[in-house]
Symmetry: C2
Subunit: 202 residues, 2 copies
Amino acid sequence: MASIDFWFSIGSTYTFLAVMRLSQIAAKSGVEFDWHPFNVRAIMIEMDNIPFAKKPVKAAYMWRDIERRAAKFGLTARFPIPYPLTELEQANRVAVLAAAEGWCAAYTVAAYERWFVNGEAAGSEPNLSASIAAAGQDAERVLKMANSEAGIDALYAATDEARGLGIFGSPSFVVDGELFWGHDRLDDAIEWQTNLDRATPG
Amino acid sequence: MASIDFWFSIGSTYTFLAVMRLSQIAAKSGVEFDWHPFNVRAIMIEMDNIPFAKKPVKAAYMWRDIERRAAKFGLTARFPIPYPLTELEQANRVAVLAAAEGWCAAYTVAAYERWFVNGEAAGSEPNLSASIAAAGQDAERVLKMANSEAGIDALYAATDEARGLGIFGSPSFVVDGELFWGHDRLDDAIEWQTNLDRATPG
């Protein structure tokens, strides 16, 4: 069975729902997810696509919607969540390194849990180092690598790859060249993958 | 059983999915829908909330997404759909009158079918008069009333009511003061209504 590419940025609010549910969904559906961090904010600014900033009515709806959706899926979250966040590139540089080294899911789940449950802003301390530690890694080593020239370039490269796939928001799912945007399309992405697997058995 | 308020504007693309599915869903779920046309474009302009215009990557995704969703729900649609539309207020003024007179669903379904299947732009002729006729009404009478001062005021009043409910997009569903935005939240709105009915039997 092929896997679904899960493209996300730490700092995206709706991404919380996907990050917290993905391992359980993978276990249940048998579909695997490859975690691909990128910098959605950079792409959104390029496209002048800022859905919630300076839109208080829509932003208020978003929080209520996330609260209802979290409850529906049995996820703990304590509102209000620290928002907006000031520093995000570092958190996503760490995520890109984590993806290369194989501890991305554990780190990202920890970062979102600390942000949405403990009220610690994602991308800032103590969230950053604690989330790295939660994934069994040494924060000093990781932050040094993530903030090196190579670490900075790796996030740019990941963002270029996302842009090339037509990705403009987080979370996004890519299955066999098909792009599905939003946690709301997670079920459709899995269905697409399942139908592909049926069409090409073995 | 109470009903769900279905707020929509003719001209919204994603609203196609809700408009075409609603009567079947109502029959299946036992939940009733009250159709409330309003002018979403006016509210979106006020909020500087224009999700697709001048965002070609996002717009391209939208069409592909609607195409996939239409297929998923067994709806016929022929792409490309005429877009963007030039004239929408008249179509929605007619819808407001139709809601007052009790033929709003038939008219709106016809308008979307002609737009998405026959390629006739919604809000323009021949779509406008044909959709009125499809609802068993006399186009001349209806257009005269809809374009009268009272008809113009009625669309403003409906839009004011929507704004007061915190509505910022189409389609939206309102259940017991809870706002659900988008066709993607139709199931959640129905679930909310069903839980209410269980909580207050009789």
